[in-house]
């Protein structure tokens, strides 16, 4: 059953909450936030790790801006609008944590761009916005998947994998909202 088939917005929200497991892993947060533990246990963090985290941070800022475009488009109806705002909140949490971690590793965190050039002229319906967000989430899953094996520090890799899981849930829920199979394959790539 999709969100559109639910009898009330409240029911749809309950469905979403029940299916998605909304909270980012507390362990991952602790892993990223506790740089002392990082240095002591997970292997040496390198300048390469900071570069990876900064690339991830840039992508998170991109996602936050994209969801803002969606939320302000006037095309999203409740409960889908709530969904978008919730997912944007996750990306904000990711960005905040990545930024703090980069700083703790003595790096310089990238900033959000002053302006994002999204193809807003192609967003004409709620489904268009959902498709736009789903494509970004799928790309985010792939980006984290491609980054996880590159970390010098295993705890950072584990935390990035935790974020990957969150992005994958976003992607699945958005596909479900579009009426598509939420999990099309056994593996992501």
């Amino acid at each position: 059953m999709t969100f559109f088939e639910m009898p009330t917005p409240l029911a749809a929200r309950r469905l979403f909450l029940g299916r998605s497991g909304l909270l980012l892993s507390g362990a991952a947060v602790a892993l990223l936030a506790g740089n002392d533990a990082l240095a002591a246990k997970g292997g040496k963090s390198t300048a390469g790790d900071v570069r990876i985290l900064n690339s991830a941070l840039g992508a998170e800022y991109n996602a936050i801006a994209a969801y803002q475009v969606g939320a302000e488009s006037g095309l999203l109806q409740k409960p889908v609008l709530d969904l978008a705002v919730t997912f944007q909140g996750h990306h904000k949490q990711h960005a905040d944590l990545l930024s703090k971690t980069i700083t703790k590793l003595s790096g310089t965190a990238v900033s959000a761009k002053a302006k994002y050039d999204f193809p807003v002229e192609t967003l004409k319906t709620q489904a268009d916005v959902l498709r736009f967000a789903a494509n970004l989430e799928k790309g985010a899953v792939s980006a984290y998947l491609g980054a996880v094996p590159l970390f010098g520090n295993h705890d950072l890799a584990k935390a990035a994998a935790s974020i990957l899981g969150d992005e994958a849930m976003h992607w699945a829920i958005l596909r479900n909202a579009l009426g598509e199979a939420p999990v099309p394959d056994a593996y992501v790539s």
């Binding site: 390469g48 570069r51 990876i52 900064n54 690339s55 991830a56 840039g58 992508a59 991109n62 996602a63 994002y116 050039d117 999204f118 193809p119 494509n135 970004l136 799928k138 790309g139 985010a140 792939s142 980006a143 491609g146 980054a147 094996p149 590159l150 790539s189």
Partner: protein
């Protein structure tokens, strides 16, 4: 023995040549390009630079895009061959690049991806 070794060598060389000559499928490549969309688009710069105008462009040369020093120093022109090499393992080919992605190890997938990028570069989205 020497004949066997030579025959083996010829086979290895032939296999390499065949690998380099894989004809990519743009439709399959479009699916693979979906992996890139968190950081790239065809027409706009994001975390990574735009892909319109990619073929024939010198690495690190999109105006206004902030590249790593490593990419600025990487003096190649993007074409099928240089892209294939880079995409296989970006950080090995350009250590210090901001493209912190493990790469596309499958030659077939790389050929498909490059075929899609070539086709997309000739599309209206890229002003063609």
């Amino acid at each position: 023995m020497l004949v066997r070794l030579l025959a083996g060598l010829i086979l290895v060389v032939a296999a390499g040549a065949a690998g380099a000559a894989i004809k990519g499928d743009p439709a399959a490549g479009k699916e693979i390009y979906a992996r890139c969309l968190a950081c790239h688009t065809l027409a706009s710069d994001r975390v990574g630079p735009r892909h319109c105008g990619l073929f024939g462009r010198r690495a690190g040369s999109v105006k206004g895009f902030e590249y790593s020093d490593a990419m600025k120093r990487y003096k190649v022109v993007w074409n099928e061959k240089t892209l294939d090499r880079f995409l296989a393992n970006p950080l090995k080919i350009v250590p210090g690049t901001n493209m912190t992605y493990a790469g596309v190890p499958d030659p077939r997938e790389r050929a498909d991806l490059i075929a899609y990028l070539k086709q997309a570069n000739e599309s209206p989205e890229c002003g063609k």
